[in-house]
Symmetry: C2
Subunit: 139 residues, 2 copies
DNA sequence: CTGTGTGCAAACTCTTTGCATAAGT
DNA sequence: ACTTATGCAAAGAGTTTGCACACAG
């Protein structure tokens, strides 16, 4: 059977010029089926395996980068060890829970940034990232 | 001869409970002599060698982490490959030049952030990081 | 002297790459 | 058929660690 989600994934991939292979389809579905997510390569690799679609780590890396180039997902710079991918490409910001290494979305409307500085000569702003680092309240 | 800067470094280290060893003194001086800086382990390692104080990479890592724990410097999360250390611990934000991998300070006064969201239950805000990613203007 | 700090090399983690095989069009 | 993707294993970058030797107090 071919589900509606599979069709959407296939189109999404084709539009980005990517062949809808078994692996890319599976990864796209895992990524987009559950709404906005923040995931690492390792997590997605495990999810794929658990979902019965064994995919090599290299393919997960390749695929996530291709998706990133295609603008389907974004790379998050929150912690310097692992790379986090964000399935929400729209303008929004993040909480990062230190220790836990957990990323949470901040509703777009919440934050307002004022007095953005002028970029240096010849440069333009590509993106503004706000990361609010959280720690457990001591009590 | 013992310079004023060396004395300041020595006191700074002692205050943080770190023995003012040859290596730590040298690194502290390289780090703090030139005002606010953003550096990688590799850069500092090279500078130390060039300054005639050969220090092992491991020691640079150890030392920068000790300095970080002591609150003398901060870790910047801008790009997910290397770790950047910021010698400016005060509240301020950054430009990050994509491709170039260059970090620039944004004058403190410039940015105002409004409507900071409430942190989730039991959490408190440790720090707010704003990174403005820049790209070369196409013209 | 006694305890820390340092240097080296090996280990580790995350990520990328090269190349033969498999799959898509 | 022709082209692109995948998987594996090996290589690469950045970082950490264990242990013998050196240095600071």
């Amino acid at each position: 059977m071919t589900t509606a989600i599979e069709i959407r994934s296939e189109e999404r991939l084709r539009r980005s010029g990517l062949r809808p292979t078994r692996q890319r389809m599976a990864l796209a579905e895992l990524i987009f089926a559950k709404g906005d997510r923040h995931l690492t390569v390792e997590e997605l690799h495990e999810e794929a395996g658990a979902a019965g679609v064994p995919v090599s780590l290299a393919t997960v890396y390749n695929t996530l980068h291709q998706f990133t180039e295609a603008g389907m997902i974004r790379v998050l710079a929150v912690e310097s060890a692992k790379t986090y991918f964000d399935t929400n490409v729209s303008d929004h910001h993040h909480f990062f829970v230190e220790g836990h290494n957990e990323v949470l979305d901040i509703p777009v409307s919440s934050i307002t940034i004022g007095n953005l500085p002028e970029p240096p000569e010849g440069m333009e702003i590509a993106h503004v990232d706000v990361v609010i680092r959280l720690r457990r309240k001591r009590g």
